[in-house]
C-alpha cells in the first residue's frame, strides 16, 4: 500500500469516528432537553451547561495534548508528533470558541451581562488567543522543521502561561460558578443532571478524538501527496 492509500484509509476511518461522535452529540441534545429536569433557579438556561462544560473539557484535553506533543517533539523530532500537535491545536481552537460562545449565551440571562472579567472567562479568552497565535505562527513559517520547532517552543510556553493568567485574574476577583463534579465534597449535582453531564463529557471526548484524528489524517494525506509530487518532479 502506498503512503497516499494508507493516509486515505486513515482518513476514511477517522470520518466514521467523527460521524459516530456527531450522532452521539445528537442524543446528548435530546437527553439534555427532554429527559433531564429543569434547574429550579436558572430555568432552561442551565441546559447549555451540558454543552458548555464538556466543550471546555475537550478544549482542555486538546491543550494538554499540544503541550505534551511540544515537549515530545523537541525530544524525539518526529514529524508525526508535530502533526498531532497542530491537529489538536486546531480542534482545541474550535472547542475553545464553542466555550466562549455558549458561555455568554448563558451569562446574559443569569448574570445580566454577556461578559465579565472573571478568572475563568479571562483565562479561556487568553487560551483562545494563545491557540490562535500558535496557528498564526505555524502559517507564517514555511520550512516544516523550523515550523515544528517554533510551534513546540510556543506550545511549551503557552502551557506554562495559562496557570499564571488564571492565578493573576483570580487574584482580581471571581464570579464563575464553582465546579459541580470535581470538587472536594464530591458531586453536588442531582443524579439525572449528573448522568447527562457525564454522558456529554464522554461524547465530547470521542468528538475531540474523531476530529483530531481526521485532521491528522488529512494533513498526513497532504504531506504524502506533496512527497509524491516531489518524487514525480524528480
Amino acid at each position: 500500500m502506498t503512503p497516499i492509500e494508507q493516509a486515505q484509509r486513515a482518513l476514511e476511518r477517522s470520518r466514521i469516528l467523527t460521524l459516530i461522535a456527531l450522532g452521539l452529540l445528537g442524543t446528548v441534545y435530546v437527553r439534555a432537553i427532554w429527559f433531564t429536569p429543569v434547574e429550579a433557579i436558572q430555568g432552561p438556561a442551565q441546559k447549555i451547561f451540558y454543552i458548555h462544560a464538556p466543550s471546555a473539557w475537550s478544549a482542555f484535553l486538546a491543550v494538554v495534548v499540544v503541550g505534551l506533543c511540544s515537549v515530545l517533539y523537541l525530544m524525539l523530532r518526529d514529524a508525526r508528533i508535530d502533526r498531532l500537535a497542530a491537529s489538536s491545536a486546531e480542534v482545541g481552537t474550535v472547542f475553545t470558541t464553542a466555550v466562549l460562545i455558549t458561555g455568554p449565551i448563558w451569562g446574559k440571562p443569569i448574570w445580566g451581562a454577556w461578559w465579565t472579567w472573571d478568572a475563568r472567562l479571562t483565562s479561556t479568552l487568553f487560551l483562545w488567543f494563545i491557540l490562535v497565535g500558535y496557528l498564526v505562527l505555524r502559517s507564517a513559517v514555511r520550512e516544516p522543521r523550523q515550523r515544528a520547532r517554533f510551534a513546540a517552543v510556543l506550545g511549551i510556553l503557552g502551557m506554562l502561561l495559562v496557570p499564571f493568567i488564571h492565578l493573576s485574574v483570580k487574584m482580581f476577583r471571581t464570579l464563575h460558578p464553582q465546579p459541580v463534579v470535581m470538587n472536594p465534597e464530591g458531586p453536588t449535582l442531582p443524579g439525572q443532571m449528573l448522568a447527562t453531564l457525564l454522558f456529554s463529557f464522554a461524547v465530547f471526548t470521542v468528538l475531540y478524538a474523531g476530529l483530531t484524528w481526521q485532521r491528522y489524517a488529512q494533513s498526513a494525506l497532504e504531506d504524502a501527496r506533496g512527497d509524491a509530487r516531489a518524487e514525480g518532479a524528480r
Binding site: G133, Q146, F150, A152, V153, L154, S168
Partner: protein
C-alpha cells in the same frame, strides 16, 4: 557563560550607542503615547493618580515591544547570526546576552519615560520612587525574558513586526496585571501586606520565564 553573555550584550549596546536610531525613536514614541493618553481622560472627573498605573504600564508595554524586535532583526539583516552561531559561544549565553542588552535598552527608555510621566500627569514620584523602581525592575525582567525569546522566533517569520505583539501580548497579562496592581497600591500608600501576593506572582513569573527561556532558546535557532 556569563562572560560570553556580557560580551554579546556589550556588542549589541555598543552598536546601539553608536547609531542611537532605535533608542531615540523608542523614546519619541513613548513620549507620544504619554501625550496622547492626555486626550483620553477627563481631568475634572479622574485624577492623575487614579489613571496613572494603567497609563504607565501600557506605555511601557508598547515601548518595550518596539525595542524587542531590534535585537534579532539587526542580526538577520546582516546575516551576522550565522557568525555568532559559528563562534564558540554557548546558546544560553547568546540568549542571556541578547536579554541583557534588551533589558538595558528597555530600562533606559523607562528611566526617561518615568519622569516625563510624572510631569505630564502631575503624579508625585519622590515619595514612592523606591518601591516603584522595584516593581518596574521585576516586571521588566519578565517582559524582556519572554520578549527576547519570542522575538528570536518572530524575526524568522513573515510579518515579523506583527507577529511579535500577537505572540507576546498574552504573555504580558501576568506581569502587567501584577505591575498595575502593585503600582496602584504604592500610589495609594497601602500597607506592605497588601502587596505581597502580587509580588510573589511577579517573582514566580520571572523565575519560570527565565528558566524556561534558557532551556528552550536553542530550539529557536537554525541547526
Amino acid at each position: 557563560m556569563l562572560r560570553q553573555a556580557w560580551l554579546i550584550a556589550a556588542k549589541d549596546l555598543r552598536l546601539e550607542f553608536r547609531s542611537r536610531t532605535a533608542f531615540l525613536s523608542s523614546l519619541v514614541f513613548t513620549a507620544l503615547v504619554l501625550a496622547i493618553f492626555n486626550f483620553a481622560r477627563d481631568p475634572t472627573v479622574l485624577s492623575g493618580t487614579d489613571l496613572a498605573p494603567g497609563i504607565l504600564w501600557i506605555t511601557f508595554c508598547f515601548a518595550g515591544l518596539l525595542g524587542l524586535n531590534r535585537a534579532f532583526a539587526l542580526e538577520r539583516e546582516n546575516r551576522t547570526l550565522d557568525g555568532l552561531l559559528l563562534a564558540p559561544v554557548d546558546r544560553s549565553a547568546l540568549y542571556l546576552g541578547k536579554a541583557i542588552a534588551n533589558l538595558v535598552f528597555v530600562g533606559t527608555v523607562e528611566a526617561v519615560a518615568l519622569p516625563l510621566f510624572a510631569i505630564f500627569f502631575n503624579v508625585p514620584l519622590w515619595p514612592v520612587l523606591g518601591p516603584l523602581l522595584g516593581i518596574v525592575a521585576l516586571a521588566t525582567v519578565g517582559f524582556v525574558a519572554i520578549g527576547t525569546l519570542l522575538s528570536a522566533i518572530a524575526v524568522n517569520t513573515r510579518f515579523a513586526e506583527l507577529m511579535l505583539p500577537v505572540l507576546m501580548l498574552p504573555f504580558l497579562v501576568p506581569p502587567i496585571t501584577g505591575a498595575v496592581q502593585l503600582t496602584a497600591r504604592v500610589f495609594a500608600a497601602r500597607p506592605l501586606a497588601e502587596l505581597s501576593g502580587w509580588l510573589r506572582l511577579l517573582v514566580a513569573y520571572d523565575v519560570v520565564v527565565v528558566v524556561a527561556a534558557l532551556l528552550v532558546f536553542e530550539y529557536t535557532l537554525d541547526e
